[in-house]
Every structure is written in C-alpha cells, then in structure tokens.
Symmetry: C2
Subunit: 307 residues, 2 copies
C-alpha cells in the first residue's frame, strides 16, 4: 500500500492528504436541516449530515488528492451511527481509488494490539471465515507501550500489505511535555524515531517502508532531524494551515527525491467555505470551495518544494 | 463516579475489576455453534456469541465484583457489529449497577481529544439536543501527546462526574523501551505520574481524584514509587494472573486506608473454565467457573492486603 501511496502522490503531483474530520460546526446548515428533517435531531440524523458532507467533498477532490485521513474520534462521538458513517466513508473513498489513512491513534499490547490491527487493517477469524471490519489502508499508532504494541501491527501490515504511521513528534503545543524530554542528551522523539526506522526495516515497499511516522509541521527543525533518522519512513505531517505550519517549513520533511512526506490539512480544506478567501463559493457550494483550497494547498507546497 | 467506585469496592470488599476481553478462542463451542446457526459465520454471528458469553459472565459476577473493563479492541475487530455488542455490554453492566471502565486507550489533541471524551464519557451536541454515545463511567487514556490530550478529558470528567485512568507504566515486557528511560535521572513514568497528580488535583471526588492511573502489577517496585507520587490517584492495575503479577506484589499499589487500587483480571476470570483448576465446572458452566475464579481472586488479594 505504501507503493500505491507513493505512485498516487507522484501521478497527481500532490503530496497531500485531506483530513475528513467533520465537526458538526463545519457542516453547512442546508445539509443538517435536510438530515434532521429526515431522521430528527438524533445520532442517525447527525451521521446522515456527516455522510452527505463527506461524500460531496470526496466527489470534488478524488481526482486531485491521493489520500484522505478520516479522524475516527469525530465519528466515534456519534456512537454506532457515527461508526457506520466512518465505515461508509472509508469504503466510498476506496471506491474512488483514494488511499485511506484511518487516524485512529490506537495503541495497546499483545493480543489487544493485534485486535486493533485486525479491526483497521486486517481480517478477523470467524469460524472458518476471515472477514474484514473497517479495512482502511493505513492506520496511525501510538508508541508509548513500546514494541509489544507495534509488532502486532507490523505483522498485519506484512500479511495485508498495509501500513502504519507511528506518532513520533505531534503537532500540538504541549507535545514537548514528554516527547522533548532529554534522555542521554537526546529528546524522546528521536529515540522513538530510531525505533520507527528499526521496526520499518523489516517491512519495506519498493523505496519506502510500510512503517511511517507522524511529525508535526509546527516543528520543522525536529522534522529535519527526524528525516535523517528515519530515511525510509514516509512522514505524515499534520499541522499545516490551521495549526500554523507553513509551506516553506515543510521542505525539511521531504527527501531529496522529492518524496517521503505527505502533508495533511483538515479544516483548511473541508471548512474552506467558512474562510474569507473562499467565501465567494457560498455555503451551498462548500465542496467546490474545498476543491479550490486543495488546489491552492498543492500549489503552495509544490512551490516551496521546487524553489 | 470515583466516589461510586470507591463505595462499591468497600461494600463488596473487592478491589477487583473483571476485564471483558472476549477473544473468540475463549468462547465455549456451544455458544459459537448456536450463534453461527442463527447468523452464519458472519460478524453478526461472532457478535452474538460474544454477547451471550458476556451476559452469562456478568450475570454470575455482578453481585461480587464492583466493576468491569471491556477492552474495546476485542469488539472493534468485528466492526459495527462488534461495536454494537460493546455498547450492549456497557449498557447491560450499568443496568446491573456495575461500574464500567472502557479500556479504550484513546489519546489525541484538542477538539479530537474532546470528541473521544464525548464518545466515551460525555454527550454530543446534535442540533438542540445533547445525546450520549457509548457512555462508559471511566475510560483509559494515553498520555504521549501531553496536556493537550488530557485536558479535554478532564473537562468532560468534571461536567459528567466521570473518570479516566491515564497510562503511566504499562504491564507489558517492552513497556520500558520508552517509559523507563531516564530524564534528569528519573524515569519517564515518574514524570507522567507527577502530571497525573497535577491533572487530578483539579477534579477531586471525596477522597480520590477523578483522574487515575494505569500501573502494571508486573512492576511492583515502580508501583510503590508511583503510589507515593500520586497519592490521590486510583491505580488501575493490569497484569495480575495471566501476565505474572502476584497478590503479594499488589500491596504496594494500595494506600494505608486499604484503598487506592483496583486490580484487573481478564482471561483469568472469563476463561477460567479452560484452566485445570476450574475444569470441574465444564465448558457448559463456564460462567460459574468465572464466578469461582473471581471469588478466589478477591480472597487472594484480600489475604495479601490483610496479612
């Protein structure tokens, strides 16, 4: 799947992933009104509004953006109905040939970690059959529990030719509380980065590993260091746009082949219509605003990369 | 909810939580056969088998055990059908007045972390209504992202009078890879423990905080240190039994009031019938074997505590 991701990034010339994090406040009134009219102000109604919102955005970006990253928390908060839309969104994006990164940040140990890996990337044994659950292409994983948490994911990645992105240095202001603490003179995130390189060396695609990393755009200097520590890891870079990461900062996350990083934007794309810059589209045409914002983001990043 | 947990532990004289981690291999053949006969070898069939298994165990332990800890990964791997049974299990245990600790180990930042908190402990806004999703009493949370990840949970805990257990030192062999690394001469888990005490000081119940910690039974010396660092945090202790933790090691996790810790056993209870010690019950009577194993565990721990 890492090969497919790299191919799509090359073909569309767009090292970009759109975060499908549909908070209710981003969803245009007309979609909410229609959904609530049909299902009432219920979890089902909320889920229907999210589904219509996601579908319109995907329809408007799938030909220019290689990947989407649905944030499962935004679905999980609507319970079973939310999870149904998560699944529907994953399936729909795959039917449009997009690569789907489940932003699930799961992390546990042993058989539990294996169950998460199976839930999101693999197949579960039911009697004599092997069945898929959510079946994303990639998942994000938390490293705090060490190798016992990661190995079961790596095993499933090998079997299914899927991938993971392990949290190394997150984009938020307080990420340094633990991640930056010095251990033998070096920050924790560097040690985690070294383990990512080690875990990833066991399951390589053509040029990059099935095991990637998450490093926030908001920490470009750390990105530069981590790029060297994990040369074969694809870096998923959150924090561009809304969180303050700029295109010129992103160059450090890429290798000299122009590859090695994929930059995420969530609300910058899906809620573009709420911004002055794209207000001309109007709320009705929110998905066209998203397309324009995606095109602008791609141009912005490619501009910085090819300067 | 921490007050209710403490009350129940006192009343039942049982500082014990049963992990409802229903792996398919633990489920007796007759339950699987019946479920597959009705629904086929499908995710729905697996979910039905899990539900019948859980229900029988809960019916046999609710009067002697104060709390259950369903491990969501074991349900998530069966997709939507699995999550429905997770929800059904949570609801059923609450109807039996058990305290439910959702072992979800979620962790993200800002609005995403808030969405997870809402999903598992709070209420989500849908139009003019506030609705519940999974609605457990407690959830487990991963600290790797720092305060940005924890604060939204603390906010929801205050609003809803619910609680969290933050991973501090996990029970697995490789937990030391990151958690034990020395920072200014002290292991990372101690720093996380200090933050747990700090986060928890803001939302106190009568004697203990709504913010607890997870510390593995397999590391009793570290438990002793962490007990002192976080005197007001309830410690959820996994790793007893199957993972090697012994009752005499557990005393270090308790305060002098005989409270402050709740010990988890999962397969030791739910799969008791597969062990020689309880084989006499037979597979048909698996839930009675679970009851006996729970009684034995309570006696074992109380014996060590009152020595």
């Amino acid at each position: 799947m890492i090969n497919k991701l790299v191919d799509k990034i090359k073909k569309q010339n767009a090292p970009v992933v759109v975060g499908l994090d549909p908070m209710m406040k981003f969803i245009p009134e007309h979609l909410k009104k229609a959904a609530f009219a049909e299902y009432g102000e219920t979890l089902e109604g909320a889920a229907e509004a999210i589904w219509q919102f996601n579908k319109a955005i995907v329809d408007n970006i799938y030909d220019i953006v290689p990947a989407v990253k649905p944030q499962v928390a935004m679905y999980e908060q609507f319970g079973i109905e939310g999870m149904k839309v998560f699944q529907k969104t994953v399936d729909y994006c795959k039917s449009k040939d997009m690569v789907v990164i489940g932003d699930v940040k799961r992390g546990d140990i042993g058989s539990t970690s294996e169950a998460y890996a199976v839930a999101h990337l693999g197949k579960v044994q039911v009697g004599s059959k092997k069945l898929s659950a959510f079946n994303e292409d990639f998942a994000t994983v938390n490293p705090y529990l060490g190798s016992d948490g990661i190995n079961p994911f790596v095993k499933v990645c090998k079997e299914e030719k899927k991938g993971i992105f392990i949290l190394v240095k997150t984009s938020n202001p307080s990420s340094g509380e633990f991640q930056d603490r010095l251990i033998d003179g070096r920050p924790l995130y560097e040690l985690v980065g070294e383990k990512v390189a080690e875990w990833g060396s066991e399951c390589m695609g053509d040029d990059y590993s099935y095991v990637g990393a998450v490093v926030g755009a908001t920490y470009p200097e750390m990105g530069k260091t981590l790029r060297k520590i994990m040369p074969k890891a694809y870096i998923l870079v959150p924090g561009y746009g809304a969180q303050g990461g700029k295109a010129e900062d992103l160059v450090h996350f890429f290798n000299e082949d122009g590859l090695g990083a994929i930059v995420n934007s969530s609300r910058g794309i899906i809620a573009a219509y709420t911004k002055e810059q794209y207000a001309k589209f109007g709320e009705e045409h929110f998905a066209e605003a998203s397309r324009q914002a995606a095109l602008d983001m791609i141009a912005d990043i490619n501009g910085a990369l090819h300067k």
